[in-house]
């Protein structure tokens, strides 16, 4: 993984696989506190305490086709390389919160990468799931709630060419607006 946004995409896919109907993502960049963090919150099927301990091990996976899974171990390594860490809180039947923090100015911190592409892809790929997204750069915020968008669309698919392109442009505009706030 070359970008933190790819780790985020991978972690959100886990939430989808856990049958979540609502997935929240918050990305915070704070140069003053020297942190970059992200939190994925879902209302999926959750994990037992035993499983939480095991998912950071590459030899645990939810997939049935083989016995290794690298998503969470890769994110853990990327965070720890920058003096950060990951934290997983989960309850069976209630959902999971995945938190990762990175040292913002650390030389080994991967770039955040293309958040517009990441959000566009997950939103349009899983139409039955609702997403809330909040990205804060040094206090300036961009947010999106697919429930709001779906209400306006009134049953029209997010995959409709014009709708899909509009969502992508909307995300790109929003990301550009807040990224101007970097030092």
């Amino acid at each position: 993984m070359k970008e933190i946004s790819l780790h985020i995409l991978d972690i959100m896919q886990n939430s989808v696989a856990a049958n979540a109907s609502l997935i929240g993502l918050e990305v915070i960049e704070d140069e003053e506190k020297d942190i970059l963090s992200f939190t994925v919150t879902d209302n999926g099927k959750g994990m037992s305490e035993e499983l939480i301990k095991k998912v950071i091990d590459p030899f645990t996976t939810g997939r049935t086709t083989r016995k290794v899974g690298l998503g969470i171990p890769l994110t853990k390594l990327a965070a720890e390389m920058t003096g950060g860490y990951i934290k997983i809180e989960s309850r069976l039947g209630e959902g999971t919160v995945f938190y990762a923090v990175f040292g913002y100015s650390h030389i080994d911190r991967q770039p955040l990468g293309d958040m517009a592409q990441t959000m566009h892809q997950i939103i349009t790929s899983f139409e039955d799931v609702d997403f809330t997204y909040r990205h804060v750069v040094n206090g300036r915020e961009f947010s999106l709630d697919t429930r709001e968008i779906k209400k306006i669309l009134g049953g029209v698919s997010l995959k409709e060419n014009d709708v899909s392109l509009w969502i992508y442009e909307y995300l790109k505009d929003g990301e550009k607006e807040i990224s101007d706030n970097k030092k």
Partner: protein, 122 residues
């Protein structure tokens, strides 16, 4: 900034067009988006397909994602399924190759043989 009001106008346009369509989304573009695919660059590939298909307004094509197809070393992998034709599997895809596949395969109906899995190890 784009506004939500614009979205409403787009919605109304889509609704008025939707009744004119036949055999909706018959062609499927399937992108492998497991950890292996994502790490190898599947996200920009999928976006290139979505954007190019939307810009050309190919309404019979849908782009969907799937898990690991099983040949991680050849990711990003994209399968194209056209009804009545044999499945075509493209490997080691890039956004540039994706745009070529849209033009040649999806629009002109000619699969690009050199990007397919059969040619990968030659």
């Amino acid at each position: 900034m784009k506004s939500l009001a614009e979205l409403e106008a787009i919605r109304n346009k889509v609704v008025s067009n939707v009744t004119m369509r036949k055999d909706d989304h018959a062609v499927r573009v399937v992108v492998g988006m497991a950890t292996c695919g994502i790490a190898a660059g599947a996200r920009p590939v999928m976006s290139a397909f979505v954007e190019e298909i939307a810009k050309r307004n190919l309404e019979h094509v849908s782009v969907v994602q799937t898990g690991c197809i099983g040949v991680c070393r050849l990711e990003p992998i994209v399968e194209i399924l056209v009804p009545g034709e044999e499945k075509v599997t493209y490997v080691k895809m890039t956004p540039e190759k994706a745009r070529q596949v849209v033009a040649e395969h999806l629009v002109n109906g000619r699969p690009i043989k050199e990007y397919t899995i059969g040619e990968a190890d030659k």
